[in-house]
Symmetry: C2
Subunit: 201 residues, 2 copies
DNA sequence: GTCATAATCGAATGTGGATTTGATTATTCT
DNA sequence: AGAATAATCAAATCCACATTCGATTATGAC
């Protein structure tokens, strides 16, 4: 799946062939079908794994007994560092979401391929992914609401602010190149500073 | 090209067929080839037009005799409002850049299609687009440098800050739905406020 | 060592979609 | 009107995939 993420980052979902992905792990395209039912499930696997990784790393932060501003700072750092460490998955999270959204239509149009049950199972799994993603985003919204209630953050429109924040984070996967002038950590710190200053009273 | 942008936003470059685009303007796929040499040039046309629109709107702002903080505020508003007004083009600017980057490879692999001269012409036009995009991004960097020199902005890492800013802006094209709770103007104001607070000393 | 199962591959299969071709039909210009 | 040019289309071409099939080769259990 990591290899797939790499190829996906370079070429994009539709342009990436099963052969490309297979070549990246020294296999033939046919062999991939022992491990993934089809191309859509492979993509979904990539995204699921990436999202769960971040969610796991967020757990200790969210339950820590620290003030909202410190919590948010840690979340931003963790997310940005995560994206920078694995830009291929980060970029997939940005670019390939849409393939997933329209997967329903495409699957339906290419009917005959999958059975009704298989299709339903896939869509359910996809929706579960989106639900998990919302859990992730909601954790940011909650921390910011807490900070506003506590009076340490100025009152902002929380959904807009979080979209702003996440746009900046996601974009890191697009422009960050490891080995560049700054480390992922350094970038994460800068961004945390930026958004905390924007938020503090 | 606007119709193409719409279809592109929904389906993505590779998944969008010439037939889809043609249908959006009540034509057949074949007819499109009277107006665009091929699919890549159509995409490039969409992106070029979108970028030039923003660049034109930036001109008066950049030459205005106002302090850096006011200049930046206007630029942010203009850009965000522009993206919100035309999310399809905004989203294309985010999602389809990669198709353009890898266009060289794809074109080369599908050799026999284009002549060497046609290929060179296309690549030159593509590079010109990226150069224009850099002009756009550089204008943000310059204003921020000016503000730092003038002592009104705190010293930040300018490239990182601008990437942060542009990530947030671009993302608007992904999540904004017209007719939602807030207008593009309102969102633009919020975002300008966020980034100016992050920057002011 | 043998059997079952997992992995792998080479060679089809079938299809969707970009692009071309060769007319046919509008427009425009004079 | 009549010629020249622009737009349009239906049908054909052509090929790059995703996916399947059948057979072959590891691997692991006992």
């Amino acid at each position: 799946m990591l290899a797939a993420a790499d190829v996906l980052q370079k070429r994009g979902y539709e342009a990436t062939t099963m052969k490309d992905i297979a070549a990246a792990v020294d296999l033939t395209a046919a062999s991939l079908y022992h491990h993934f039912r089809n191309k859509d499930e492979l993509l979904l696997g990539v995204l699921e794994a990436g999202l769960e990784t971040v969610l796991v790393r967020f757990e200790p932060i969210l339950k820590a007994e620290v003030p909202p501003e410190e919590k948010l700072r840690r979340m931003i750092r963790e997310h940005v560092v995560g994206v920078a460490q694995n830009t291929s998955v980060g970029a997939a999270m940005v670019f390939e979401i849409r393939s997933l959204i329209s997967a329903a239509d495409r699957t339906i149009s290419g009917l005959g391929k999958l059975s009704a049950e298989e299709r339903a199972a896939f869509l359910a799994r996809r929706d579960a992914f989106f639900a998990r993603r919302d859990v992730f985003e909601e954790s940011f919204r909650q921390v910011i609401r807490d900070g506003i209630s506590a009076g340490v953050f100025r009152p902002v429109d929380v959904p807009i602010f979080v979209n702003t924040l996440l746009g900046a984070h996601n974009w890191v996967g697009v422009w960050y190149k490891s080995g560049g002038r700054l480390s992922g950590e350094a970038i994460a710190s800068q961004m945390a500073e930026t958004f905390l200053r924007a938020l503090m009273k």
